[in-house]
């Protein structure tokens, strides 16, 4: 489906991603297989011939059952993994909200971890200094900013991770179910912030099991099943299609 947005910020051209399942990681397992040229684990396609593009400022949702390949798409956009076949084109700075705080070091303080994580996301020291107060304000962690993050609750941890990513000035924001953690108050705050992004022309890709979130928030939704793109269109249409392929539809909500 052609998008109404003129700049194609993200483009997938016939992308396939293949994994080998259960492949051992020691020479003892590898060498015999290598010399016999057989016996490697069956390849498994996480994605198969996926093509789509997402325009600048578009908010695209990706839905599908567990293991359908949604997160692999996010990883391809983030550049963490490479396609087996096809091409992925990305224009602009990507900020992944995938499992927030992955870069945190438990022994470092909140302040040190903000600088560290901001640097991982590609911010310069000056940018970080400029936005430091905003980050701590957003996370509401002034009291604990000089405490090692290992003393943080999981909610605090997540808030800090989200705040850093939000203020990293992304051009493309990847959101993977992060909103299912945290209390309703913080979730609303994040949604408000994401709305702001939407208005300022940031492209957002949301992976979620929450049909409510997807319907409300996205311009367009893609449905992935078994590694294939089987639906691409307005949220209401695709949500209906999704519910028809889920064996026992259980409504999950973000609250």
């Amino acid at each position: 489906m052609p998008t109404e947005f003129d700049v194609r910020e993200i483009e997938f051209l016939d992308v396939s991603k293949r994994f080998r399942l259960a492949e051992g990681q020691s020479l003892r397992e590898f060498l015999p297989r290598f010399f016999r040229k057989k016996g490697f684990a069956e390849p498994f396609y996480a994605l198969r011939d996926i093509s789509f593009s997402i325009g600048r400022g578009e908010v695209a949702g990706i839905v599908g059952r567990n293991g359908s390949g949604k997160s692999t798409i996010l990883k391809l956009i983030a550049g963490v993994t490479a396609p087996t076949e096809g091409e992925v084109r990305v224009l602009g700075r990507v900020s992944p909200l995938i499992e927030l705080g992955a870069g945190f070091h438990p022994d470092l303080t909140g302040r040190e971890n903000i600088k560290m994580n901001a640097s991982i996301l590609g911010m310069t020291a000056r940018e970080t200094a400029e936005r430091f107060d905003d980050i701590v304000d957003f996370a509401e962690l002034w009291e604990f900013v000089d405490t090692p993050v290992k003393r943080y609750s999981s909610g605090m941890y997540m808030r800090l991770g989200f705040a850093v990513a939000i203020y990293s000035n992304p051009e493309i924001l990847l959101v993977d179910e992060v909103l299912s953690v945290g209390d309703a108050y913080f979730q609303d705050k994040c949604l408000a912030k994401m709305d702001e992004f939407k208005k300022s022309g940031v492209s957002i890709v949301v992976v979620s099991h929450s049909m409510e979130l997807v319907t409300e928030f996205c311009d367009r939704v893609m449905l992935i099943d078994g590694g294939h793109l089987i639906g691409d269109g307005p949220p209401s249409e695709i949500v209906e299609q999704y519910l028809s392929i889920v064996p026992h539809p259980v409504e999950t909500t973000t609250n």
Partner: protein, 281 residues
Amino acid sequence: MADLQITTRHPLRHSFGLLDLAVYLRRFWQRRDLLMHMTVRHLRGQYKQSILGYAWAFVNPLSQIVILSFVFSTILRIAVPEEVPYPLFMFVGLLPWIFFSSAISSATDSVVNASSLVTKVYFPREILPTAAVLTKLVELSFGLMILIVLMLYYGHPPEATSVWLPLLFFIHLVFTLGLSYPLAALNLYFHDVRFLVGVVLLLWFYLTPIIYPVSLVPEKYEIIFDLNPNALFVNAYRRVLLYGESPGIEKVLLGALIAAVTFFVGYYLFKKMERGFADRI
């Protein structure tokens, strides 16, 4: 901030040439901020939970110099060339060796240890082994303090030719980095690599003239030492620091050539394997 650019993620088995290598090195350089952060993070993590903290960086070289000096100058009595006391002779070789071997082992594990990061965010992965190597510079500088105290104690202050040291060490550092890249990458594919590295480093220690002078080596085995870059570096350190001799221009050039080739080949291999990292963890 990284400038706006179209990033195309090609299929896994895509090859790249020398020009791409220059692009990768430039992007790496743009992220030197992150390299500093990672290095500091490594350092903080290393000694954080210990009572002695950074004092451990002194304990390791000190204990080695005491025990090796005792064994090889009191029990085995290795003859070293003129006027240099054995502990001093040995320590000038041991210190760069400790740097080299600890940097290599730490770098080998660096990418595996950062798996949670590698599967989530992209940044030039060579930052991880590079930070692991740079972390060891701090320990090296502590070791240098011990060395200076030792030299003053034995009444054998550094010779004027010591001005060669920064250049020699820079070449040694480039060589170390070049080796650490492919090892860090391979260790993701085969966890055997870390064990192999341990064994090779042990053999390499004995085949490098650290506890003995190269003059004791029988002629027919000299080839081993000519082919061993670490022997080249250790000998050069001794000449400039202890004997007031020039390291020899041809030796410096040879070392620089070995280091440059190791670095570029190692970096190339690393970048080649990098694209599959996240799938391997």
